[in-house]
């Protein structure tokens, strides 16, 4: 069953308040076709946003497309890869997407192997220092940490305070950040991260009646934004990650 959700259908009073609020936030286009119309034009700037999903839901593709949009707009991006996949192989597998512009590799989009650093480091302050060192060198408008959840296993009791410091500092460094979060199929989002981010986007899939899987995106939270709710159909093709708002 297809249904259309029109984000412009609101009570007049609330709409004016939201417009007033929206005008005060700078926004960055997400680079994901269909998504910006669901969240008043893009991600707030600065902000930290969790993109959570289980394996194969498109988290890394989403994150790269976000950075690619920035590169196209003349912005600087930083991609920190943790202990999920080395940059070498991640780029090889994504190089076929049409949104990828290889000329931006190492220039408008810089890739940092945080995973290599994490192998020998458990001190949260030194990890933050490593991240900030790269930020102050590159001065990015967009940052990705993919995935952030692996740090929970490494930092254990220090994880919550680390996340608090990380998200605070990322915003103070004037960037919009995507933190990807790995979850199990029956887990909606990593709870520890959900409390301290400004936005939560959940990627999921369900078995379709005709067999196979349908992929979905849902905006659970987006501070300062009148966003669409509910699950919306996602397509991942050679063109990249696309959301079809209103299609469920």
């Amino acid at each position: 069953m297809l249904e259309q959700s029109d984000p412009s259908v609101h009570r007049v009073g609330m709409r004016k308040e939201v417009e007033k609020m929206a005008s005060k936030l700078s926004r960055l286009p997400s680079g994901i076709p269909g998504l910006d119309s669901m969240m008043e034009g893009g991600f707030p700037f600065p902000s930290t946003n969790l993109v959570a999903g289980s394996a194969g839901t498109g988290k890394t593709t989403f994150a790269l497309q976000f950075l690619s949009q920035g590169a196209k707009d003349g912005e600087q991006g930083l991609f920190f890869t943790t202990l999920s996949e080395p940059t070498q192989w991640m780029l090889r597998f994504v190089s076929g997407f049409e949104f990828i512009d290889k000329d931006t590799f190492g220039k408008e989009i810089q890739y940092v192997e945080l995973g290599t650093f994490l192998r020998g480091e458990r001190d949260p302050e030194r990890i933050l220092d490593f991240i900030e060192d790269h930020i102050t060198e590159v001065m990015p408008q967009r940052i990705v940490i993919d995935p952030v959840t692996v740090l929970g296993e490494l930092l254990e009791d220090n994880y919550r305070s680390f996340l608090y410091d990380l998200t605070t500092r990322l915003k103070n460094w004037q960037s919009t950040t995507i933190l990807t979060g790995e979850v199990l199929p029956n887990q909606p989002y990593p709870v520890e991260v959900s409390y301290i981010v400004d936005g939560i986007l959940v990627l999921s899939y369900e078995i379709a009646p005709e067999g196979g899987r349908r992929k979905y995106l849902e905006i659970l939270k987006m501070r300062g934004t009148n966003h669409m709710t509910g699950k919306h159909l996602v397509d991942i093709s050679v063109k990249g990650f696309t959301v079809q708002p209103g299609l469920r």
Binding site: K24, F45, G74, E75, Q76, E108, T136, M139, T168, W173
Partner: protein, 191 residues
Amino acid sequence: MSNLVRELGPHEGKKVLLTANYIYLNKVIVCLLKYLLFIKHMKGVYIAVDRPYTYTSRLLEKQGIPQEHLFYLDAVSKISSEKFKEAKNAEQLDGPFCSFVLEDAMARLTKSGGHCDDMNFVFLDNLTVMLSYMDEKCLYGFLGQFVIKLAKDGRMLTLTLVDKAAHPNVYTAAKKNCDIEIEIPGDWLRT
């Protein structure tokens, strides 16, 4: 950088309003302070309202810009989760709220024999974010005092206002209090 230097060059001693897209704020800060501190060897005061001063300090350090002639007034660290970093060239204000900024910051800036006595410029970072902490009336009041008191002795005064499209009222008020506006397009700052 060279574009910004060219535009700023003839404006020493004047009240300058800079406008730029908020997303390039770090680059604006780096370019501007590099010019003022490193190239012109000026002495200045940096009023931090957007984030604790340590972020700018670290940014400048990484970018190789000397800070011995830059004095920080930190208006926001008291309400951030971060401890104020004590330093010879930094003081903490009680907060970014109306009364603190208007009285405390202005008193320190204009105090005779104080840190700011021999400074050539004052850089406010940034006007837009101050609206998060005070209403427009207070902001305009601060703006007026800030400009009038400091411009009296011919110091170069720099105001930052980014995203004038998002805050047209503040932009208009700031522009009235300035001699010159320099709009910094993204092209000057892009990679």
